[in-house]
């Protein structure tokens, strides 16, 4: 009898963990599977004896350190996905690195509030006196990549930007 109760309790625990795992960011079901990766550049010596850089998982970062964020979108359905746009906030405690956002076949826009998006030169912010000026790169809070073409079944698109730990 005692044994039966403890196995029920154990079963409940497993269930709870599964739910937490889902809430913590397992991709939800859909035709596009989106994956985010954080990496840092690491210098290394090639077989030819030259110094090069490669991306390795961001195990640790320190203030002033740069993180390369890469988002991949995979179309896992058999229908093309249209009007694909990836939104990524510049993470808290980080500052966007100017001109670092890239994505093949995309138009890239930025925002300082997560609502109004515009290309770099066209994004403005209000001064204290009510006048407007062009937003600076370090003020960007969100990045949006809009894909010009549909994402075909089985294909993968990617977007990338760099940010520095404040």
């Amino acid at each position: 009898m005692k044994k039966g109760i403890s196995s029920i309790v154990a079963g409940t625990l497993v269930l709870v963990f599964a739910v937490v795992g889902q809430a913590a960011g397992q991709p939800a079901a859909g035709c596009i599977v989106l994956k985010t990766v954080a990496e840092v550049e690491q210098p290394y010596t090639t077989d030819d004896g030259e110094t090069a850089k490669r991306l390795v998982p961001a195990a640790k970062v320190v203030p002033g350190g740069e993180v390369v964020w890469t988002v991949t979108a995979s179309n896992v359905c058999d229908k093309p996905a249209e009007k694909v746009a990836i939104d990524n906030p510049v993470p808290d405690h980080m500052r966007y690195v100017p001109d670092s956002a890239m994505g093949p076949g995309t138009d890239i826009a930025f925002s300082v509030d997560g609502r109004k998006f515009a290309p770099p030169g066209a994004l403005t912010v209000s001064n204290a006196d009510g006048s407007e000026r062009t937003a600076r790169a370090e003020e960007y809070s969100h990045i949006r990549w809009t894909f010009k073409n549909a994402l075909q079944p089985g294909s993968v698109a990617f977007a990338r930007f760099r940010a520095v730990v404040k």
Binding site: P27, L34, T36, A38, K60, V61, V62, V71, K83, V165
Partner: protein, 331 residues
Amino acid sequence: MQNRWSAASAWGVVLLLMLGASDRSLAAGVPAGTDIQNTAVVNYSLRGTAQSTSSNTVSVTVAEILDVVVTLQSPTVSVSPGDTQQELVYRLTNTGNGPEAFLLTMTSTLSGDDFDPLPSVPAIYFDTDNSGDLSAADTPYVAGSNDPLLQPDAFVTVLIVNDIPAGLTSGNRGLSQLAAAARTGTGAPGTLYAGQGVGGTDAVVGTTGADGSVNGEYLVSDISVTAVKSQTVSDPFGGTRPVPGARITYQIVVAAAGTGTAAAAAFVDTIPASTTFVPASIQLNGTALTDAADVDVGTYVATPTPQVSVQLGDLTQASGPQTIRFAVTIN
């Protein structure tokens, strides 16, 4: 009413927290142990139906960066041979992003000087009473016992104390050094101390190498300050007789000679008996000074004893002669 008050005080608390956080981000950076999280979202259309999907959430923990800056707060200290307990003032600032304890060491056997100051016992003190010099309230430093534990951007003022050997000659210079090193570890920038940072994060040596040292200097000084006073009398009749109503203009030339600095030199002269100070007559090097105790360096006080004073500041031989004038009338 009750609700409005509590809402107002809650806003006050939020504001303070935000100020604290932004101050910290200026120098030391994001605190060690902070989790930086990122989630992307994709919006798309499938046969005309809008869809939205989130990515996995990536979390990156900020490691502890080990950095320290040591600065000398006192200028060259002028000393005489045989002086005891002469202090140099330093500031130690934690420029890392986590709380860190620092080991302090001092040495007075350095090259590049003329003599070795003799460390007092103890030789390192915290300026506990913030007086900027050694006083009874200051706590001696004991390595491993009261290593200063500093929050990010916090600093502590440290004194190192030396005696000056006898038998030195004027112009001799002696160096003494304070060094500080992060207790977690030091090394080349980028050196990793795995798992030894705040909350089990990694600790990484920053650009300072997590240590720092600065020399302070003692200068054996034989500086002497001389004052030469002269007077001119002009009587009401166009002559130079010291009669009642005659005006006496005093000129005092103050000059420093020798090596070193006469710190905070001040000229003070009492108005002679049976004379009266002439208001607004004080001059320093030809420039008029006001009588009031204000922004300029000259002051006249009538009580308890009528006297003129002029603060000359730090004088060296290079300062050249300082000429002070003031006038009185004979009663």
